[in-house]
């Protein structure tokens, strides 16, 4: 109990203890952290009161100190009182949740891009568009700042869970389903952009610990440059691949299977 109290009361700066989930990368993560802090404040008060009462009783009413037991019984009145108190508390928590929910769950209006996120053992793939020639990256997603980024999340094998803590909560990647979440990151401080790290949170097999993910946030202008470069490079690579295949087909080394990109 002393340990519990000491750790709980200790100022968070004085130790490595983290008492609040990460936020700062997106308004939905910030809203979750605010909701969390409200529950934390209520819990700390209840915790201190209950543990305080418990410790006091344990120290004060010892038979070895000559205490004599006085019969106590829980009257219907106190039982109903506790029930009302607890119900009011959970009703307040539920109400606060529903008040905060739109700022967490609803995709905000404004400039929006969609990134398709595909999880598989043990890597994340990000596709910037819906065609076969759309640019894509693995492990690191690149997005523009001050833009709503909607993620369409899928899996090709087992269940994974998309999670970048500072950008909001988890969304599972479930084979056969498409799930969705969003974030909107602030303007980066440096030209290389801001980096937000995370990793899959759902057990996906032996190397699940290394299914890392990160999001690099660039200014919209830098993002446009990056995307154009990716598109051009992919186009060049596709062309090179097509030319090589065409040559090999003409030489009769491989059968002609695929149409031109």
């Amino acid at each position: 109990m002393t340990v519990l109290l000491a750790l709980l009361v200790a100022p968070s700066g004085a130790s490595a203890i983290t008492a609040v989930p990460r936020s700062g990368g997106s308004s939905n993560a910030d809203s979750i952290a605010e909701l969390y802090k409200i529950i934390l404040a209520i819990s700390v008060v209840i915790f201190l009161a209950v543990e305080g009462f418990l410790i006091r009783a344990l120290l004060k009413y010892r038979a070895s100190n000559g205490a004599v037991a006085q019969e106590t019984s829980v009257t219907p009145r106190s039982e109903i009182g506790w029930a009302i108190g607890a119900t009011v508390l959970v009703a307040v928590l539920a109400a606060l949740t529903f008040i905060k929910l739109p700022s967490i769950a609803d995709t905000p209006a404004g400039k929006t891009i969609t990134v398709n996120v595909t999880g598989r053992q043990y890597i994340w793939r990000f596709t910037y568009g819906n065609t076969l020639t759309s640019p894509f990256t693995y492990t690191q997603m690149v997005v523009p700042s001050d833009t709503v980024v909607v993620l369409k999340i899928q899996s090709t094998d087992v269940i994974h869970s998309w999670w970048i803590p500072a950008l909001g909560g988890k969304t599972d990647a479930i084979p056969g389903n498409t799930t969705s979440t969003w974030f909107k990151a602030p303007t980066p401080k440096s030209p290389e952009g801001d980096l937000y790290n995370g990793q899959s949170a759902q057990l996906g097999g032996r190397q699940f610990a290394n299914m890392l993910a990160s999001v690099r946030v660039l200014t919209p202008a830098a993002y446009a440059v990056w995307l154009a470069k990716q598109t051009a490079e992919l186009k060049a690579a596709n062309k090179q691949s097509f030319d090589t295949r065409k040559k090999l087909t003409q030489d009769g080394q491989i059968p002609n299977l695929s149409p031109a990109p």
Partner: protein
């Protein structure tokens, strides 16, 4: 005593004697396998479950050693996944449930004033099914143990991604121990309905017996659903069906719904008997009658009912509708209401008591202090947007251990220390028990408190390694040190049990001045439990009997 006592109808029980022919060594050996005595079955359950507790705890320490430092290579990734799967499965199905069943087998008929259980042979069958389940799981050590976690989510647990027969053996374990729990539950309910002592109306049934009834009722309602799901997984893996295979029209989420319909109440099933034990222990060692018992019984039954509506709280991150998430949030939060009532009842029981800090009391009070923390941190997981941040992280591991594992460690150790004199006829060494308790209490909090922080800092549960840049090293090391302390404490408690079995001081029938009928009979009780079953006049019959003896011996 006066002549009236021979009539046996003035409240004082009549004493009769019986002779039992001693058994030969051969008869004793045969009877070890064929016994239908609920006390011997209970001892088999308790002893075997405690053995699995040590095994599951060893697995946990190995997991913690791997996580003690960043980029550790002590344990390979496949062995790590096998270890946490075995740890979770062992603790849930081979320790927690069978320990509850063992205690109930032993204590429930004694508390009710019954001479046996309603279905003694079913009680015996339940033990051998449980043992078969344990052997089925640990036989996988000879080839490849399961590695999809104790929750076995498909598609990871499907034949494609878990081709080893280890996963099939996990299903055999689930079905065998499930059948054992189901049969035991039927036996407990039938015994409680038909075999209570004369005068023991339902309102005079002790709180531990009520919590066992709640456990049994939940098992009968919830377990068959998950047993069906496990059978479907077995069919998917071996006979080409596709219940959970999304590439052939199945749904992986179907497993989660069916499994958690049982799995979420399973957490409460393990906790409710701990509530009953803690209530009885606090009352006895605070010198109180059970003035708070009815309130606690009501709350326990309410929790049992509500827990059947909370399974969706384990699926908040699966992308379902927020209306449904909201409903499951409210049902999960509602469990908080009776839980508050129970905690406050315990506090009012301790208030103005005359507390004797014997070992069972320490464990019970330790449970209360830890469980309060677990309950409050559970609020965060019930609020679904907050759960989106916390789900699948070390925060969940920590909260699970602060509630369910607290019930298992503190609640069941309180029970074992409380009823040890009844089982063995002897007392444990109190000084050793206190050393063990403080090591366990400190070790438990050091191990799991920092895991809340790790989860908030982004550490997923079940990862086998993390990088030095993650910033999780210091807290992970603290947690590992704590788990070693916790293990040392539990080993000391185990040594204490073993040593006291032959060396402990003789306990006599009622070493704690208990309130309930199991303390009326000798320790250990004879095969027929009671020479005479007293008539019950209240919820604490031993108080009445002591008062009656005091009255008649002073001649008032």
């Amino acid at each position: 005593m006066s002549a009236t006592s021979q009539t046996g109808n003035n409240g004082l029980p009549e004493i009769v004697t019986s002779t039992v022919a001693p058994k030969t060594a051969r008869q004793r050996w045969i009877s070890a396998f064929t016994t239908t005595d609920h006390k011997r079955i209970g001892r088999l359950f308790i002893g075997t479950a405690f053995g699995f507790f040590i095994v599951g705890g060893t697995e946990a320490v190995l997991l913690r050693l791997q996580l003690g430092v960043a980029n550790n290579s002590l344990i390979t990734p496949d062995h790590y996944n096998q270890l946490f799967t075995m740890h979770g499965t062992t603790m849930m199905f081979l320790f927690l449930t069978p320990m509850v069943i063992g205690l109930a087998n032993y204590i429930l008929p004694l508390q009710l004033g019954a001479r046996r259980t309603a279905f003694p042979r079913i009680g015996a069958l339940a033990y051998w099914l449980f043992l078969a389940g344990g052997i089925a799981l640990y036989a996988t050590l000879l080839f490849t143990p399961p590695e999809a976690g104790w929750t076995s989510y498909p598609p990871l647990s499907s034949a494609e991604f878990s081709p080893s027969a280890g996963q099939d053996h996990w299903i055999y374990l689930f079905l065998l121990t499930g059948l054992s729990a189901l049969l035991s539950s039927i036996n407990f309910i039938a015994t409680s309905i038909t075999m209570r002592a004369p005068g023991m109306s339902w309102s005079r049934v002790p709180v531990f017996a009520w919590t066992i009834l709640a456990y049994a009722g939940l098992t009968i309602v919830a377990l068959p659903v998950a047993a069906g799901a496990a059978s479907m997984l077995l069919f998917d893996r071996n006979f080409g069906t596709s219940f959970f295979d999304p590439t052939a029209g199945g749904s992986p989420l179907l497993w989660q719904d069916l499994f958690w319909f049982f799995g979420q109440p399973q957490s409460y099933m393990a906790l409710l008997p701990a509530f009953g034990i803690v209530t009885e222990v606090l009352a006895v060692f605070a010198g109180k009658a059970s003035g708070t018992q009815k309130a606690i019984t009501r709350s326990v039954l309410l929790i049992a009912g509500l827990s059947l509506l909370t399974w969706g709280s384990r699926m908040f991150t699966t992308g379902g509708s927020n209306t449904l998430n909201g409903i499951f949030m409210i049902t999960t939060l509602l469990v908080f209401v009776p839980t508050v009532s129970i905690i406050f009842s315990w506090l009012s029981m301790l208030n103005k008591g005359a507390i004797v800090t014997s070992s069972p009391f320490l464990y019970a009070a330790g449970f209360v202090s830890v469980f309060v923390f677990g309950t409050l941190t559970g609020l965060f997981l019930a609020i679904f947007p907050v759960d989106w941040q916390l789900d699948d992280t070390a925060f969940v591991t920590a909260q699970f251990h602060y509630t369910v594992a607290a019930g298992a460690i503190f609640g069941l150790l309180a029970a074992l220390h409380y009823w040890y004199p009844k089982l063995s006829g002897r007392l444990v060494s109190e000084s050793l028990a206190k050393v063990a308790f403080w090591l366990i209490f400190a070790g438990f909090n050091i191990t799991f408190l920092v895991q809340y922080s790790l989860g908030l800092d982004g550490m997923p549960a079940r990862i086998y390694e993390y990088s030095t840049t993650s910033g999780w090293g210091a807290e992970s090391l603290i947690s590992t040190v704590g788990s070693v302390l916790l293990s040392i404490g539990i080993l000391i408690a185990a040594v204490n049990f073993i040593r006291s079995y032959t060396n402990g001081a003789l306990a006599g029938p009622d070493p704690w001045t208990g309130n309930t009928l199991e303390w009326f009979t000798p320790s250990p009780p004879p095969e027929h439990n009671f020479d005479v079953v007293p008539t019950v006049h209240s919820v604490e019959p031993m108080r009445d009997i002591r008062a009656e003896i005091a009255r008649s011996s002073t001649g008032v």
